[in-house]
């Protein structure tokens, strides 16, 4: 057996970008041995990517930054040898596999590196065979890259780097674009590569717990400094590394709950997801938003008028539920969960509660049992087709007032198409969409936008203007609403989302989390009753994701209905009241969180179960 050999040694590394007072990395010490897997975690901006760029030589050769301290990769100093000479020792797989491809076919992409090294054709062919075999993707060899799934692209990106025969593999947020099933497969694959090839693997991850099964060590960075370096089990209890595992803290109570101090996670008292977080909410987060149409948000007082005294909920304030808007029971009893386990199929546990049947008027398909008497949004038998296939097949769902409904499913299962169809961007082949009693199936998007807000996955796609204020009001202005009318609401939103200081800043200069908040403010300024969010947690570290979840909780508390697409089982199960699972364009699970998770387990969808469930 080969003895582990140290392949990376970083000593006292400090990196400072020009113009930045604070160093991106500060006195970092780190080692990596052959066959070792180290997870480097920490919030966005903590220096993970900077570390990767130092180890691969891009800093300082391609990216200007001042480096002090010592870095050795395979015995070489990146500062002296440069990117090219390091490329055969260390390979970097970036976050988005699609963005790093430079050819059209799998074989060409994997061969790209060896070709640049002037390898003869037969040697290149051997390396391509080996690399594709190492990632279990030999069958993809002649496929076009554009035809591959997200997981397949990630494997090809890995193979393309492996073909350089590196000793060290660095993966930067490798699961950001993968669904839980593909994530599980990738982790398994990395485990095999590590044990069989003896590679040293460094994974840079916001949510390290996904890799704890194969990790030897976890290194946590905070503000460029190593704050923890130890085995995964010790990292579990630490805030930065494991805060995705902590229960969701909903900043305000849901309509119908009794006290402000009882922060209630979406799953209520589901026994398998741990106790709810009873941390104190930020009182400021619940302040009312003065402005037309926005008083429903966090403001139960029907007599409230603009210009009145600012509302701050007291510690014993009771939040009233919007009249006539009954919510589903948020807490599931132990009995209920056990009945869902012992039941004969999905929904067995649901019979324990009184249901109200919804009639959508279509006369078919929609006669399902729901716990909602008066849903805000109803989708009935929605079918959506692309020229070659049906993407959604008779999808029916409801979203109640104050309810957060999560949609999960593999990539390509139709989640985004469902949101775009509800929004009206895509015209459905059949089916109906009913919003608050009105059939909006044929209403144009611009009109729907006043009642439904949608947030896309990439915040940059929704930033159109040159300063934040304009960004927030551009929607209403485009619809002919005078700025004076939307100004109070917009100003309140800037205040609420901590964006006042950036009012005149260019939106694209903001941080990722700030951009997300600008997106949310720009949508909320029209005071929509329903919010659709497409994978809003992608690319966000645990703290930011929790912030966003808290914001969504506040919105739900104000009676908004929220339909949330996401891949993160832990966050989704804690953020949502109900989970749907889409498979091949069909809803195969639609149940409150605990029952849905039991259904996932029964159906073998283990990758979609939160860790706390296990």
């Amino acid at each position: 057996m080969r003895h582990p050999e140290e392949v990376v040694r970083v000593s006292n590394l400090t990196v400072r970008y020009p113009g930045n007072a604070a160093p991106a990395l500060s006195n970092v010490d780190l080692t990596l041995e052959t066959g070792e897997c180290v997870i480097v975690s920490g919030p966005s901006g903590c220096g993970k990517s900077t570390l990767a760029l130092c180890l691969t030589g891009f800093i300082p050769h391609a990216i200007d930054a001042a480096m002090t301290g010592s870095v050795r990769v395979g015995g070489l100093d990146p500062r002296q040898v440069g990117v090219y000479n390091l490329a055969e020792f260390v390979g970097l797989v970036q976050q988005d596999p699609e963005a790093q491809f430079c050819t059209m076919r799998v074989e060409d992409e994997v061969a790209f590196g060896p070709e640049n090294l002037l390898c003869p054709a037969d040697e290149i062919a051997r390396r391509v065979d080996w690399a594709l075999d190492a990632v279990s993707s030999s069958h993809l060899r002649m496929r076009r890259l554009a035809e591959l799934s997200g997981g397949e692209k990630q494997r090809v990106a890995l193979a393309a780097v492996l073909a350089m025969r590196p000793s060290v593999l660095i993966l930067d947020e490798p699961t950001a674009h993968l669904d839980p099933r593909a994530t599980g497969a990738l982790v398994h694959l990395l485990g095999e590569m590590q044990s069989q090839l003896g590679l040293a693997i460094m994974v840079l991850e916001h949510r390290p717990e996904r890799f704890f099964g194969i990790a030897h060590r976890v290194v946590q960075l905070s503000d460029g400094t190593v704050v923890f370096n130890g085995p995964p089990r010790e990292a579990l209890g630490r805030a930065d590394g494991a805060d995705a595992l902590t229960p969701r803290a909903r900043a305000g109570p849901r309509p119908g709950t009794e006290t402000i101090t009882g922060i209630e996670p979406g799953h209520g008292s589901c026994p398998h997801l741990g106790p709810p977080d009873h941390g104190s909410p930020d009182p400021g987060s619940l302040r009312s938003l003065p402005g037309p149409g926005l008083h429903a948000w966090s403001r139960p007082d029907p007599d409230w008028r603009p210009g009145g005294p600012e509302f701050r909920p007291g510690p014993d304030h009771n939040f009233a539920r919007p009249p006539g808007h009954d919510l589903p029971p948020s807490a599931l009893s132990d009995d209920l969960r056990s009945s869902s386990h012992s039941g004969s199929g999905p929904g067995a546990g649901r019979s324990a509660r009184p249901f109200a049947k919804l009639a959508c008027g279509s006369g078919k398909g929609c006669a399902r049992d729901y716990t909602l008497d008066n849903p805000l949004l109803r989708v009935c038998d929605l079918t959506q087709r692309y020229p070659d296939r049906a993407v959604l097949q008779e999808v029916s769902l409801v979203v109640g007032r104050g309810e957060i409904v999560g949609i999960m499913g593999d990539n390509g299962s139709g989640k985004t198409t469902l949101l775009l169809s509800i929004m009206g961007v895509l015209r459905p082949a059949s089916g109906r969409i009913i919003l608050d009693g009105d059939d909006i199936t044929n209403v144009p998007v611009s009109a729907r936008a006043r009642r439904i807000g949608m947030i896309f996955q990439n915040p940059n796609h929704q930033l159109f203007t040159d300063h934040v204020w304009r960004e927030v009001v551009v929607g209403p202005l485009s619809q002919g609403v005078p700025e004076a009318v939307c100004r109070p609401a917009a100003e309140a939103l800037l205040d609420r989302f901590d964006l006042v200081a950036f009012r005149d800043s260019h939106p694209l200069t903001l941080s990722y989390g700030q951009k997300r908040r600008v997106n949310l403010a720009a949508v909320m300024v029209s005071d929509p009753s329903v919010l659709l969010l497409d994978e809003p947690f992608v690319g966000q570290d645990a703290a930011r994701a929790q912030d966003l979840a808290r914001l969504l909780g506040e919105l739900a508390s104000a009676g908004k209905g929220i339909l949330l697409v996401g891949h993160e089982p832990d966050l989704m199960s804690r953020c949502c009241d109900r989970l749907l699972f889409l498979d091949g364009g069909r809803v195969i699970v639609d149940a409150p969180v605990c029952e849905a998770l039991a259904d996932f387990e029964r159906m073998g969808l283990h990758d979609y179960l939160p860790q706390a469930w296990a």
Binding site: A62, L92, Q100, F112, S478, A522
Partner: protein
Amino acid sequence: MITCPKPGLNPLSKLVLLVSFCVLALRAESPGHAAVPCGAVLLAHAAIGLPPAILWRRLRGIAVFALVLFLSQLFLTGGGAPWGVRAASGVRMAMRFLNIILGSHLFVSTTSAEDLAYTLMRLGLSYRYGFTLLIAMRFVPYFRLQSNTVLQAQMVRGIGVDRPSIKGVWCMARYTLVPLVVTALGRVESLAISMEGRCFGLHPRRTFLRTVPFRPVDALIIAGAIAVVGAAAAIL
């Protein structure tokens, strides 16, 4: 050894054919001479299985422009020349234009950009230029997808791109450019790191795994095309 997955002519042969065709089309003086290559290229379109309806849909704008060329020759030029001369000149101009576009369309329809790029790189074109072509081809669908997403994002904000109006078009153009450029720049950075991290640019030359077959028929076609062009130059 891996070869071009689709059997067919080598892209180099097709390129030589295209150039020869364009030379012939440009040298054709009479409408009758110009109609010959036009008919030939239309037949070739039929031979590759492209339905006339699709061809018309793709090229109707070109046909309209050819008509404009003909009419402008007929009415706006000539300086007192007889109508017949002006009409012949107009037909010649329009046919030249149509022939070059039709020939190029046939070439693009039957040749993959990657095969062409790899062929040219193997013939000595600097691989930096070859990969510029390949990467540009990769960016085309990406830009289409991104611009579609940005337009959808505008629609859901109530920016009236679903309402046909001058203001709507203005808003669409104004609000599409910035997000598109920003996402493209992010992608360029990732691509540069990916390529340099795999030693792109390390050596002045590089090796290739992919080969695009060059068969005897390709040699015959190239020789034939050159001969025809030479003969036409001598005769016409």
